[in-house]
């Protein structure tokens, strides 16, 4: 087995999602190469080489692959994939954008959101918003997977000593062009990497009230998330949405405040270790998955919680 992992790096920083993807790769074999693509990828490549378990780092240093632009990067992946039994990318928006495109170029049916490796060709993945776990076996010669990063413990960022090789193949299609990004700035941890998350729903009533969550988050070193209803109502930005179609999270502690617990929200957080729900409706479905439920008005409970921490 030889496995190619598509790395995600932003401004010289290798994303934690990549380390979790390498962990999934380790369950398939021990010849693990990591592709780092884009301009300014020296630092990212360096970090990938230090990650535990990596054999080789392939560096495609070219602006054509910035932001893993799908049209160009898929051509690169398809070119490289022929030498591998498996190609893995994290199931991030970048991974989901580019991996299926590369798979179709190779006439391969990709497998999305792999949550467990059963064998070299058999994998588990959630379907129907996580209400069913499917075990699927593929007959394609190259297995192309996106990996649900919350399901795999990241490999250590240090301890490896992979060789680094430069690639010089450039695929530049000019079909699409990156114009810019509106990135939410925050000093709090990233949702997908946080050990504690406190999320607000429609019950928060407006964006200003999220301040109550931010203050508690700062005391707990937590990230702040939201339900789709809170995002749609404009309380907070889209990158905070947790759920089937938002981010999948699995922190040690997830505190849901003013969130009813729709199937689609549960799909994104029910693998959290400990779940707390604060809701004034004792029959809210969120209580069916909560380890600790507090039936209370959040406007009374949150100030008390802040004071108690």
């Amino acid at each position: 087995m030889s496995i190619l992992v598509i790395a995600e790096h932003v401004k010289g920083e290798l994303k934690g999602a990549t380390l979790a993807t390498i962990a999934a790769a380790q369950q398939l074999g021990d010849q693990i190469d990591v592709l780092v693509a884009g301009s300014d990828c020296a630092e990212g490549a360096d970090q990938a080489a230090k990650a535990a378990g990596v054999t080789r780092v392939l560096v495609a240093e070219n602006a054509a692959y910035d932001h893993l632009l799908a049209e160009n990067t898929a051509l690169l992946i398809a070119e490289l994939a022929k030498d591998y039994s498996h190609v893995l990318a994290p199931a991030t928006t970048n991974g989901k954008n580019v991996l299926p495109r590369a798979a179709a170029l190779l006439d391969v049916q990709a497998i999305s959101d792999v949550s467990a490796v059963i064998s070299e060709d058999t994998f588990q993945r959630p379907i129907y918003a996580g209400n069913i776990i499917a075990t699927v076996q593929t007959s394609d010669p190259i297995k192309m997977l996106t990996v649900r990063t919350t399901a795999f413990d990241p490999v250590p960022a240090e301890g490896g000593s992979a060789t680094v090789e430069k690639l010089d193949s450039v695929h530049q299609t000019d079909l699409s062009e990156y114009k810019g990004e509106e990135v939410a700035k925050s000093d709090r941890p990233e949702l997908t990497a946080a050990g504690v998350i406190i999320s607000g729903g429609r019950g928060m009533q407006n964006g200003d009230n999220f301040e109550m969550l931010y203050r508690i988050a700062d005391k707990l070193g937590a990230a702040v998330g939201a339900s789709r209803a809170a995002v749609d109502a404009g309380f907070v930005s889209n990158d905070m949405q947790v759920g089937q179609t938002g981010k999948i999270v699995a922190p040690d502690l997830y505190i849901a405040v003013g969130i009813s617990g729709a199937i689609q929200h549960l799909a994104g957080m029910k693998d959290s270790k400990v779940i707390v729900a604060i809701n004034k409706d004792p029959d809210a479905p969120i209580f069916q998955v909560a380890d600790y439920g507090l039936v209370a008005d959040l406007f009374k409970a949150l100030p008390e919680l802040e004071a108690a921490l």
């Binding site: 114009k179 504690v196 889209n238």
Partner: protein, 250 residues
């Protein structure tokens, strides 16, 4: 501009689908079926582009059993002009769907193909990207805003870090995210009108596409059930439990 919209027939999003007792697959007996919510958003976007005079024709395509006609009718009631059903009883995978859609693109020559970002049954999130690969067109996935320019689109995409803007050349493949628009309700007169709009029927074989699945579902099972825990009396008890019982805060 001619637009093709792909609409999938799926279990209604309010239904909590369970595995069959023999674990052979999802139990869809007597489950209410509907148009995939993301596809509905894609249809709405296409219809709005037509209302703005940008699109000239909107063609709704669905692949699946005969009953998928119902979802095409829904799209027609929302404002699509005509429909195409690619009828098959094979359980389709994204690659097979993308190949059929590619064959239809060769016939219909659309300038834009709109799809949902994800079908909420298989949660694959692949078909649009695969169609883009097969056609060689540009792609914009997870679109939350589309602005049509001269021979190109500017698309705002919902990415993990926030919002990303890209410009893509036409013809192109775009997949819709939740906040692209809020679909309208079909009015009764439009539902009546939709009954008269034409739906062509074809099959993967007629399109020359092999849709034999590459993957096999070995087992469908329930995820580990979470048990409801306890109700705490007040914030003080909650904090105590988190510190001393769950030990998740210090």
């Amino acid at each position: 501009m001619k637009i093709l919209v792909a609409v999938k027939r799926v279990a209604d999003y309010n239904v909590k689908v369970r595995p069959k007792s023999d674990h052979s697959g999802p139990d869809l007996a007597n489950v209410k079926m509907a148009i995939n919510p993301f596809c509905e958003i894609a249809v709405e976007e296409a219809v709005r582009l037509k209302e703005q005079g940008i699109a000239t024709e909107v063609v709704a395509v669905s692949l699946g059993p005969q009953a998928a006609q119902e979802q095409i009718r829904t799209a027609l009631a929302l404002g699509a002009d005509r429909g195409i059903l690619v009828q098959t009883d094979v359980a389709l995978e994204p690659l097979g769907v993308a190949k059929c859609l590619k064959a239809l693109c060769d016939k219909e020559n659309p300038d834009l193909v709109l799809l949902g970002k994800q079908a909420i049954d298989g949660d694959n999130n692949q078909t649009g990207q695969m169609l883009a690969a097969l056609t060689g067109y540009a792609q914009a996935t997870f679109a939350s805003q589309i602005t049509v320019g001269e021979g190109q689109l500017e698309v705002i995409r919902e990415v993990d870090g926030g919002l990303q803007t890209i410009a893509i050349k036409l013809p192109a493949i775009v997949t819709s995210d939740l906040r692209l628009n809020e679909p309208r309700y079909a009015s009764l007169p439009n539902i009546m009108k939709a009954k008269k709009k034409p739906i062509d029927s074809t099959t993967p074989e007629e399109l020359g596409v092999d849709v034999a699945p590459r993957t096999q579902l070995l087992k469908a099972e329930l995820p580990p059930e979470r048990k409801a825990g306890i109700k705490v009396e007040d914030v003080a008890q909650l904090v105590d439990k988190l510190k001393n019982e769950a030990k998740v805060i210090s």
